[in-house]
């Protein structure tokens, strides 16, 4: 499959790979299923002002899935939770020029952001 240069760049040099130490300031979202061929784990660290100051990911999946998750870790940093929640899969797909059969990867990345935010909010109710 011919991938865009942006996908290849994120795949070759994924940003923010890793794991954040779990505490109250960290929200973790894990979406997807191994049987479907992709699992994304996205973590956000939120500071006292409600701003996401760090994000890390680990992804099992195809090149588009890895690139989508790498991209959203860059995008959510510096955003408030509400701003981060507004990131849409269409923006991810457009930025990475994903082919139609790979749109589900961008949907999964959007789901991962929502899951991480939910997890953070549940911890800090």
């Amino acid at each position: 499959m011919a991938y865009s240069e942006k996908v290849l760049d994120h795949y070759e040099n994924p940003r923010n790979v890793g794991v954040l130490e779990d505490d109250r300031s960290v929200g973790t979202g894990m979406v997807g299923a191994p049987a479907c061929g992709d699992v994304m784990k996205l973590q956000i660290k939120v500071n006292g002002d409600g701003i996401i100051e760090d994000a890390k990911f680990k992804t099992y999946g195809c090149g588009s899935a890895i690139a989508s998750s790498s991209l959203v870790t860059e995008w959510v940093k510096g955003k408030s939770l509400d701003e981060a929640a507004e990131i849409k899969n269409t923006q991810i797909a457009e930025e990475l020029a994903l082919p139609p059969v790979k749109i589900h990867c961008s949907v999964l990345a959007e789901d991962a952001i929502a899951a991480a935010i939910d997890n953070y909010r549940n911890k800090n109710q």
Partner: protein, 407 residues
């Protein structure tokens, strides 16, 4: 390392390059100076010369499989041979019964042909293999009824390379007077085929998996006891009425030459290829969570189909862009379904997603294998460092106990 040409071709089960000796023979059958005549022309020497070349090739193909040249019908490839064998026999013998038996791990050329016959009113049983990919003869016996007219089981599997026991299946089929068809597209030059001994009635071949050209194949149709077929292609009555159409002399000559080379060189070639395959396997299986798909003993020498758990196949193929390999992963297929062959083995979907098929052939070198081992080990490590599943595995979490949100 400097003398390795990239990418390295390790997809010999998809197709092979034409052997230069074969290409030279084919080139002699194209231009005005060459043997370009129509083998069916009876009125001049151009036709006679072309016919002689076709006859020679027929003998070369027959020699590889120990058959009579009159039992060889030229086709456009194994897909056409499978269609002609299965539809041709089913249609001819439909008054005897309407039941056909095949296997879930067959090539699509067999499976889709059987599906078509189902639409025409035939009953088809698709047998499950054992976990190692091999057919249990008892399963076949149990599926047979007094309506069974045809059994179609492949020789060597295209994805996992396992070799079915066609000798035993043939004995059973002959005893029950059931026609036995074998798709042997992947086994010529890799496994000995002796049709004097094997009780096979119909056998499909193609040239391009054995260093011959694409676009040509053959169907073996047994004379004693005689097997009848209803033609699928009608026209000038070529090939004793079983397959009309002008014979493509250059293609046929190429197939003949390729099969002759296969016969002469297969013993030494297979030994060399097996050594390379084992070198590849030994280089990879020292990693954790690596699984071979399909039986390792009953297997053609050049095939290694292997799953790297917790790594997704398409991303692995991306990391291995210097290698030409194929994957059972959903993401590399248009349908987004993982390999039906691996699923039929009862492998879980994760292992199907993470599978890579390496197929080694005539032009593979030991240096290429060593380089491949290095590349694959580095890529698997990189992707496992990225994989949340690998972390969970390392933390001792049973992935089957996790409630995944399927999508």
């Amino acid at each position: 390392m400097s003398d390795i040409k990239l990418p390295i071709y390790l997809d010999y089960s998809a197709t092979t390059p034409i052997d230069p000796r074969v290409a030279a023979k084919m080139a002699e059958c194209l231009t005005i100076e060459g043997n370009f005549g129509n083998p069916a022309s009876r009125s001049h020497s151009f036709g006679w010369t072309a016919e002689a070349a076709v006859d020679r090739a027929r003998q070369q193909v027959a020699d590889l499989i120990n058959a009579d040249p009159r039992e060889i019908v030229w086709t456009s490839g194994a897909t056409e041979s499978d269609n002609l064998a299965i539809k041709g026999a089913a249609h001819f013998y439909r008054k005897k019964g309407n039941h056909i038996i095949t296997m879930k791990t067959e090539h699509k050329a067999v499976l889709d042909t059987c599906r078509q016959l189902e639409r025409e009113g035939f009953d088809v049983t698709y047998l499950d293999p054992r976990e190692n990919g091999l057919l249990d003869l008892e399963t076949l016996k149990a599926a047979t009824t007094d309506q069974t007219i045809l059994i179609s089981i492949m020789h060597a599997n295209n994805e996992i390379g396992v070799i079915q026991d066609i000798e035993a299946i043939g004995e059973f089929a002959r005893e029950k007077r059931i026609i036995f068809h074998v798709d042997a597209a992947q086994s010529t030059g890799k496994v000995d085929i002796d049709l004097e001994k094997l009780k096979v009635d119909l056998m499909s071949f193609c040239a391009h998996k054995s260093y011959g050209p694409k676009g040509v194949g053959a169907l073996y149709v047994r004379r004693k006891p005689r097997v009848r077929l209803e033609a699928q292609m009608h026209g000038g009555g070529h090939e004793r009425g079983m397959r009309s159409g002008t014979l493509a002399t250059h293609q046929i000559v190429g197939m003949g030459e390729a099969f002759q080379i296969a016969r002469e060189e297969m013993a030494t070639e297979n030994e060399r290829i097996r050594m390379l395959r084992d070198r590849l396997y030994n280089g990879l299986n020292t990693m954790e969570e690596v699984y071979v798909n399909g039986d390792l003993d009953h297997r053609i020498a050049g095939n290694l189909n292997i799953s790297f758990n917790f790594v997704e196949g398409e991303s692995l193929i991306m990391a291995l862009r210097d290698l030409a390999v194929s994957s059972g992963s959903a993401c590399t297929s248009a349908s987004l379904e993982p390999s039906y062959v691996l699923r039929a083995l009862g492998r879980n979907d994760e292992l199907a997603h993470s599978s890579i098929r390496f197929t080694i052939g005539r032009f593979t070198s030991a240096e290429e294998i060593d380089y491949t081992v290095e590349l694959v080990r580095a890529a698997v490590k990189k992707l496992r460092d990225l994989s949340p599943l690998w972390d969970m595995y390392k933390d001792g979490i049973d992935l089957n106990s996790v409630e995944w949100v399927a999508h």
